[in-house]
């Protein structure tokens, strides 16, 4: 790697006596990982990894899906025992027997999948494991509430200590996780893909929070697949490929450089695709209304159509009815009115099995809940919807050999990183699980393809691949509908964009509409008004609207972005 900003990591890079000792007025901690190796059976997830996190530094980890980032962090946090290697805190070797030890040493972690107890309040979640008590072990939640308010005020979190966690939006849940770490005086905070589930505006807020934490002396290990964010926040970037550190980079490195270092080959960050040649409009949705079980009208009179050979992207901030819209098509929603027609056949009122049989391929938003059966093998998951028919079954029996061959071929084709097709899907890294779902859905001939957040949690290389596959499906003449909260993704693959806000469509615009216009529409402005607006600046270039959620008016909100409410 002879590039200017990249340096191949030497084993002794920047080690030596700790730069700064801990002092009372400015807590700082230096963290060193030496030769960390972690095996899962025959799989080498981490291979002699060296990493140094300097005090007060934001250190990003970049790597493909399954590269071993989460595993490394779980070792650092005491959840996994390393097979080899050691951890040093302020130059002294430590031996973490469990997360308790890591927390005592000043390490806090916000996991990729949140570790909050949904039925507990914020205060109970924060107190757990670190309880303030009165005499006799009686809980002193008042003390915890006070601490939460203190931290909340300091960083502008706006978290109500008495709210039930399950009622909170993901962005706020994440702050609760950060509070959990701060209450325990974490001096190193690990954030494992914190932005994967956030709206663009929540991401901007998180980036502000990280800057404040850093200003207070907390070091941060940041994991993300979004190169733009990584470049915006990092002091130093370490790249991991297949369990090994392959190099470090400065944040000034270009996105393309980072991407190729990560994947090991050149990645084209812009998709080259032919213009769409839309054919017959075979998928039509007319005046669709969906009512949720709690009585809220979540989709309110939505009409659109998708032509053969065209990608329609449904953009919008999470929770504006997109999920329910796709579920209604699949027959997963109970209270649906209006009409959904595929090649002239009405889908409303049909069972899921009938809808799938009609040729609908579906990638659900939450793969672990709706897309996969965790304990089943990869091979079994690949045929979940086809196990009972030829060529995978004959009569009542399944044909294991055919199923296995099929799985091997798809694992190869979709580049699923695994030790074998007999591994349980639950042990795959997040991104590889997503590839299994895609492989299954795209391996039969379809009359309609719907994907919700198809690239959530995927690395750049996989995103490139998935986008190509979606375009291939389009060019085969399948109508494609994508639901995405990522404006980058929408801009990349959409031929037309429908923006959804509070259950209604704000308009359907061409795929090359500017991010600003889309952002304003996502905040509830009609297409015409949005186009008439002057251009605005976005703080971190992550795009998307700010000020969607009235619960957290941060000081940084720019009035120009506050939708149409002037």
């Amino acid at each position: 790697m002879g590039r200017r900003v990249l340096s191949v990591l030497e084993p002794d890079h920047r080690s030596g006596p700790g730069l700064t000792r801990r002092t009372d007025w400015f807590p700082v901690l230096k963290l060193e990982l030496e030769g960390i190796t972690k095996r899962f059976g025959s799989l080498l997830a981490n291979d002699h990894i060296d990493l140094v996190v300097e005090p007060g530094e934001i250190h990003s980890l970049l790597g493909e899906n399954g590269a071993g980032k989460s595993t490394l962090m779980n070792v650092l946090y005491g959840l996994y025992n390393p097979t080899e290697g050691r951890i040093l805190v302020d130059g002294k070797p430590v031996n973490f027997k469990g997360p308790g030890d890591a927390m005592d040493a000043g390490i806090g972690m916000v996991h990729q999948h949140f570790m909050l107890i949904p039925v507990f309040t914020v205060a109970e979640n924060v107190a757990l494991g670190n309880e303030a008590t009165h005499a006799g072990g009686m809980l002193n939640l008042e003390e915890t509430r006070r601490k939460i308010r203190e931290i909340s005020d300091k960083y502008g979190f706006h978290v109500d200590p008495d709210a039930l966690v399950e009622d909170l939006p993901v962005g706020v849940q994440q702050r609760v996780e950060i509070i959990k770490a701060l209450v325990r005086d974490a001096e190193v905070l690990i954030l494992d893909e914190p932005t994967a589930v956030l709206t663009p505006q929540e991401t901007d807020e998180l980036i502000d929070i990280m800057a404040q934490l850093k200003a207070n002396g907390t070091s941060i290990v940041f994991i993300s697949h979004k190169l733009r964010e990584v470049k915006a926040v990092s002091d130093l970037i370490t790249v991991i490929r297949r369990g090994k550190v392959v190099g470090t980079a400065e944040p000034s490195a270009s996105t393309a450089e980072l991407a190729s270092l990560m994947v090991g080959r050149a990645v084209s960050l812009t998709l080259d695709k032919e213009d769409a040649t839309p054919g017959e409009k075979t998928f039509q949705v007319t005046d669709l209304k969906v009512t949720a079980a709690n009585g809220h009208r979540v989709v309110d009179g939505v009409s659109f159509d998708v032509a053969r050979g065209e990608v329609l992207a449904v953009a919008g901030v999470q929770g504006n009815g997109q999920t329910e819209l796709t579920e209604a098509v699949l027959g997963l929603q109970d209270h649906v009115s209006g009409s959904i027609k595929l090649e002239g056949r009405e889908l409303v009122g049909r069972s899921i099995k009938q809808v799938l049989a009609a040729g609908v391929g579906f990638v659900p938003e939450d793969r672990t809940v709706d897309g996969l059966v965790g304990p089943f093998t990869i091979a079994e998951n690949m045929v979940l919807d086809m196990y009972d028919r030829p060529p995978y079954a004959k009569g009542l029996g399944m044909k294991p050999k055919v199923i296995a061959d099929h799985a091997r071929q798809k694992v190869e084709e979709f580049d699923v990183r695994t030790s074998g097709i007999e591994s349980a899907v639950g042990t795959l890294s997040g991104g590889n699980q997503q590839k299994v779902v895609l492989a299954r859905e795209l391996s039969r001939s379809l009359k309609l393809f719907i994907a919700s957040q198809p690239t959530r949690g995927l690395d750049v290389g996989s995103i490139e691949f998935v986008h190509k596959r979606i375009i291939t499906e389009r060019d085969n003449g399948t109508p494609v509908m994508i639901v995405s909260t990522e404006l980058d993704e929408v801009a990349e693959i959409a031929d037309r964009v429908a923006v959804m806000y509070q259950g209604t469509l704000m308009g359907i615009v061409p795929g090359d509409t500017s991010r600003d216009v889309l952002g304003l529409m996502m905040a509830g402005m009609s297409a015409e008004d949005a186009k008439a607006q002057p251009r605005t600046e976005h703080p971190m270039e992550t795009g998307g609207p700010a000020g969607i959620d009235d619960r957290h008016d941060g000081p940084d909100d720019e009035s120009g972005e506050r939708g149409g409410d002037k």
């Binding site: 107890i117 009686m138 929770g319």
Partner: protein, 428 residues
């Protein structure tokens, strides 16, 4: 992910009403039962309820109620509630929370007046009825607390039946040999713990399906105690199976309070321990550090683990604690109600305790009331068969359960078990 649409401008999102007609229909059906039974078929006599026992400080006159007007009044109230519920549902509103409880009370009053008025002896002691219910409920309450303690950490406890039976057996034998009831109680608790140790080892360490382990344990304990009973205990019951009884402890002054005194303050030590156990478990679970950790382990063990809480250790601990509680409850059979052990004497009470726990939504206080309701149902059957009603005994025995199931399953609403209940925790 069906997050409701939030509106930044503050206007309420449009509400579409999803009407649920279940409650009004259930109310209406039972209102018709009340109308036909309590009102049209009122026996025309009077029913007498004695509300003072001889020892009470203030002697209150018995309540004599005419069956016809009371029957009609109850039926009309039931109808009124049903109509009100229909209107509420029509308007898309939810019933107030007190309604199922009020409805159940009115129905039970109507039923009691009707059934006592129609009996050969139209005079019943209300205190006796209620005190008897508490007595019947004691092992159920201990059993359901065992269930709560175990399932709150995520281990399904079907073995309550076995724990009760082991406790009953151990109490009888230990108290007989030592001649000391308290040794019997201690032995009962230990026997309960031993049963739980097996449950804990197999379900937590060896990851065997928890329901299967529980059922197997019940069969095992039943077989083992039954075998020992017929081979050892019944050969020489003077040595092995004639435990002394626990004395009734009357709390001075308090026991003389009308109605309540007889119910609450004339108990054996096991009865008082029961109240203490309910309160301690409740406070422990919801207001202490211990309880917070216990509940976290049952809801999201992985999250608890990331906070340094030892999941499987906490689980094993609690399952054993539950065993001690249920074992102690088992001693009630042999040291209080019957002074000897007989084969399978718990007769499925452990399963009823499990039902009480579920109906009580894994909450000690609600499980306590659910168990009382079952105790009341069981006791009512005995009292009524003594009074001699014309209603067939089997039907009487069944009716309170029907009411309970309808009221709880139908009207109280969905209850949510701890999220990780039944799922073993394997560290990654």
């Amino acid at each position: 992910m069906s997050a409701p649409v939030t509106s930044p401008q503050g206007q309420a999102p449009e509400l579409d009403t999803v009407r649920d007609w279940k409650n009004p229909i259930i109310y209406a059906i039972f209102a018709v039962v009340g109308l036909v039974g309590f009102a049209f078929n009122a026996p025309g006599t009077t029913a007498t309820f004695d509300i003072s026992a001889g020892r009470d400080a203030v002697q209150l006159a018995p309540v004599v109620v005419p069956t016809v007007p009371v029957g009609w009044a109850c039926a009309l109230i039931l109808i009124a509630i049903a109509v009100f519920s229909f209107l509420q549902t029509q308007a898309g509103r939810k019933d107030p929370r007190w309604m199922p409880i009020a409805y159940a009370i009115v129905f039970v009053v109507g039923f009691l007046v009707w059934v006592v008025g129609g009996a050969n002896k139209t005079d019943v002691s209300l205190v006796g009825l209620l005190a008897g219910s508490v007595t019947m409920a004691v092992p159920l309450i201990f059993g359901s607390l065992s269930g709560v303690l175990s399932e709150r950490v995520g281990v399904i406890n079907i073995a309550i039946e076995g724990q009760l039976l082991a406790g009953a057996f151990a109490a009888a034998v230990a108290a007989s040999i030592s001649g000391n009831v308290y040794v019997g109680m201690l032995a009962a608790a230990i026997a309960g713990v031993l049963v739980s140790v097996v449950l804990a080892v197999f379900s937590i360490k060896y990851l065997v399906n928890q329901i299967i382990v529980g059922v197997v344990l019940n069969v095992l304990v039943s077989g083992l105690t039954g075998f020992l009973f017929s081979t050892v205990l019944s050969r020489d019951s003077a040595t092995w199976n004639s435990p002394p009884s626990l004395p009734v402890i009357q709390i001075p002054v308090l026991e003389h309070i009308p109605i309540l005194g007889g119910i609450l303050f004339r108990q054996t030590i096991v009865g008082y321990l029961m109240y203490a156990a309910v309160i301690i478990t409740y406070i422990g679970l919801f207001h202490t550090k211990w309880g917070l950790r216990v509940r976290s382990v049952g809801e999201h063990p992985k999250a608890a683990d990331t906070l340094g809480i030892k999941v499987n250790f906490t689980r094993a601990h609690n399952v054993m604690l539950g065993g001690a509680v249920a074992g102690l409850g088992g001693s009630f059979f042999t040291l209080v109600s019957v002074s000897q052990f007989t084969k399978d004497m718990t007769a499925g009470q452990g399963y009823i305790a499990l039902a009480a726990m579920i109906f009580g939504r894994w909450n000690p206080i609600w499980a306590f009331f659910a168990a009382l309701l079952f105790g009341f149902a069981t006791n009512l059957r005995f009292v009524l068969s003594i009074l001699g009603t014309p209603v067939p005994g089997e039907f009487l025995a069944m009716l309170p359960y029907v009411v309970t199931i309808v009221a709880v399953a139908g009207l109280v609403g969905r209850s949510r078990p701890p999220a990780a209940n039944g799922t073993p925790y394997i560290k990654g």
